[in-house]
C-alpha cells in the first residue's frame, strides 16, 4: 500500500476511536475526520463530494419534515391512547400494543423518529397507571430495531444499503427482510410479557382512568391531520412504486415533504426545518468522506480480498460471517459508521468476482439492525430513549438494558441465520 493509504487508515482509526469513546460529539468528530481526508490530500474536494450519498441525506431530511409536521397534529398520541383503551387499560397489553405500534412506525417512518414520538406518550400512560416506564421503554427500543429492519427506510443502515445498491428497492427490502422481522416480533412478544409482567401491575382505579380518557381531544388540528395523512400515505405509496416510477427514494421523501409544506403554508416551514436533526445529517456527511479516503487509497479493496480469502469464497461462510460480525460490532459500536465501512467492502467483493451479492447485503442489513439491540449504545434509537428517560428521572442503566437486550439480540440473530440459510444459501 502507498503512504496515502497508511494516512487514511490512521485518520480512520483515530476518528473511529473518538466516535466510540463519546468524549466529543460524534458529528464533530466525523466531520473533522472527513475534512482531514481532504486537507491531507487523500481525497480532493470533488471526489469527497462525489462520495457523499445525497440519496441517504435526502431521504432522512424528507421523512424528518413530514413526521415533524404530522406529530404536531397529535396523531401519534391519539394512536397510543386509542391502543391503550383497546387494551382495556391492562398494562401488559398496553406494553405489547405500544411495542407493536413502535415496530410498525419504525418500519414506515424510521425508528429514531418513532421512538421520539412514543416516549412522551409512554411517560403519560405509565404515570396514569402508576407503573414504571422502563419496561415499556426497553420493549419499545427492541421493537424499534426489529421493526426498522423490515424496510428500506426503517433504520439508518438500511437507508444506506438501499441507497448504495440501486437494485435493492423498497419492495426488495420488504420482500426479503419484513418476513424475518415479523417472525422475530412474534417470538419476542411472549418473551416481553414473561420478562416484564410482574414489574407492571396496577390497580383497577388506575386502569379506569385510562379507559375514561377521550383520545379525540388529542387531535389538535383536524385539517392539518388530513393533509398530513394524505401526504404520508402518498409518500409511502411512492416508496412502494419508486422503481416503476424511476425515482430515487430521496426524491419521493423530499417531494412528500415539500408538497406538505406547500399545503400547510410558509408558517410551518421554519419550525419544520428546525426539527430536522442536522447533527445526524452532518454525521453522515463526515462518515461518507471519511470512508472515501479508505476507498480511494485501495484499503477497502485489500480488506475485501482478505475477507474472500478467509472464507475461501464460500457463500454460506461469507454470509454468516457478515451477519454475525455486523451484529456483534453493531451491539458495541455505532452501526452507522460500521455499515458505511462495510458497504464499499461488499461492493469490492463484487468487483473481485463474487457473483451473487444479494445474500451478503441482507446479512449486513440484518446484522447491523438487529445487533443494535445488544446494548444501550448499539443504535441511535437506544441512545435517544435512554437520554430522554434519564432526563425525566428514569435512567436506563447499561447493564440493565444489556440483561434483556443482549440475549434477545442473540436470539434474533440465530433466527436470522436460519432464515438466511434456508432462503438464500441452500
Amino acid at each position: 500500500m502507498e503512504q496515502q493509504a497508511y494516512w487514511a487508515i490512521g485518520i480512520f482509526l483515530v476518528i473511529y476511536a473518538l466516535i466510540i469513546s463519546e468524549k466529543i460529539h460524534r458529528t464533530i468528530v466525523a466531520m473533522i475526520g472527513g475534512l482531514m481526508m481532504v486537507a491531507f490530500g487523500i481525497v480532493n474536494q470533488e471526489t469527497a463530494l462525489h462520495h457523499i450519498d445525497f440519496n441517504t441525506l435526502g431521504l432522512l431530511i424528507g421523512m424528518m419534515i413530514i413526521v415533524s409536521i404530522t406529530a404536531d397534529t397529535g396523531l401519534f398520541k391519539f394512536i397510543a391512547v386509542w391502543a391503550a383503551k383497546k387494551s382495556k387499560g391492562n398494562p401488559v397489553r398496553i406494553m405489547v400494543a405500544l411495542a407493536i405500534i413502535t415496530a410498525v412506525g419504525s418500519a414506515f417512518l424510521d425508528n429514531v423518529t418513532t421512538v421520539l414520538l412514543m416516549v412522551p406518550v409512554t411517560f403519560s400512560i405509565t404515570r396514569q397507571l402508576r407503573v414504571p416506564p422502563i419496561p415499556f421503554l426497553i420493549t419499545q427500543i427492541i421493537a424499534s430495531n426489529v421493526g426498522g429492519t423490515a424496510t428500506l427506510i426503517g433504520d439508518p443502515p438500511n437507508i444506506m444499503i438501499g441507497s448504495a445498491v440501486k437494485e435493492l428497492t423498497f419492495m426488495a427490502f420488504i420482500n426479503n427482510l419484513a418476513p424475518i422481522a415479523i417472525i422475530i416480533m412474534i417470538v419476542f412478544i411472549p418473551l416481553f410479557v414473561i420478562l416484564f409482567r410482574k414489574q407492571i401491575q396496577t390497580k383497577p382505579e388506575h386502569t379506569q382512568s385510562i379507559m375514561d380518557m377521550d383520545e379525540k381531544q388529542l387531535i389538535t388540528d383536524r385539517k392539518l391531520l388530513y393533509k398530513c395523512l394524505t401526504v404520508l400515505g402518498l409518500t409511502i405509496l411512492g416508496f412502494f412504486l419508486h422503481q416503476s416510477l424511476h425515482l430515487e427514494s430521496a426524491t419521493v421523501a423530499l417531494a412528500g415533504a415539500f408538497v406538505l409544506l406547500l399545503l400547510t403554508g410558509e408558517h410551518m416551514m421554519e419550525e419544520a426545518f428546525t426539527k430536522v436533526e442536522w447533527t445526524t445529517i452532518f454525521f453522515f456527511v463526515g462518515l461518507f468522506v471519511l470512508v472515501s479516503g479508505l476507498i480511494e487509497t485501495g484499503v477497502i479493496a485489500k480488506l475485501a480480498a482478505q475477507a474472500i480469502e478467509l472464507t475461501d469464497g464460500n457463500m454460506v461462510a461469507t454470509s454468516m460471517l457478515i451477519l454475525w460480525i455486523s451484529a456483534i460490532a453493531s451491539a458495541f459500536l455505532d452501526n452507522i459508521p460500521f455499515v458505511a465501512t462495510m458497504i464499499p467492502l461488499i461492493q469490492e467483493m463484487g468487483n473481485m468476482g463474487v457473483s451473487n451479492l444479494e445474500p451478503l447485503w441482507w446479512s449486513l442489513a440484518l446484522g447491523a439492525c438487529l445487533g443494535g439491540n445488544g446494548t444501550l449504545i448499539g443504535a441511535s434509537a437506544n441512545l435517544i430513549v435512554a437520554g430522554m428517560s434519564g432526563k425525566e428521572g428514569h435512567p436506563i442503566k447499561f447493564v440493565q438494558f444489556m440483561k434483556y437486550g443482549f440475549p434477545l439480540m442473540l436470539l434474533s440473530v440465530v433466527l436470522a441465520s436460519i432464515y438466511m440459510y434456508f432462503r438464500y444459501l441452500i
Partner: protein, 93 residues
C-alpha cells in the same frame, strides 16, 4: 410560603389532591373560551423539552386531569392565571 389562588366557579372548577410525589388537578371548564385557554396552556407545557413536568389527560365535556410535578407547581398555577382560568394568585405564610 404557600400559593393561594382564586377562580370564578361559574367558568371553571378546579380541585387539587396529592398524587404520590406530585399534585393532581382536576379541571372542568364551563365555556369554550376557557377550554381553549386551557388547551393553550397544555400546548405550552407539551412543546417544551421536559416530558413529565405536567402530564395532561383529557376527558369528555371539557374536563381534564393534570398531574403536576412539585417543581413545576408554581409554573402551572401561573400558566392558569396567564390563560385567565384563575382570577388572582398570591403568596401567603
Amino acid at each position: 410560603m404557600r400559593l393561594i389562588y382564586r377562580y370564578n366557579n361559574a367558568v371553571v372548577q378546579i380541585s387539587e389532591t396529592p398524587n404520590e410525589a406530585d399534585i393532581e388537578f382536576k379541571i372542568h371548564t364551563l365555556t369554550d373560551e376557557h377550554w381553549a385557554g386551557f388547551k393553550e396552556l397544555q400546548k405550552s407545557f407539551e412543546d417544551n423539552e421536559i416530558y413529565t413536568d405536567v402530564l395532561f389527560y383529557a376527558y369528555e365535556d371539557h374536563r381534564c386531569t393534570a398531574i403536576v410535578r412539585q417543581d413545576y407547581y408554581v409554573d402551572f398555577i401561573l400558566g392558569l392565571l396567564k390563560h385567565q382560568l384563575l382570577e388572582s394568585v398570591e403568596w401567603t405564610k
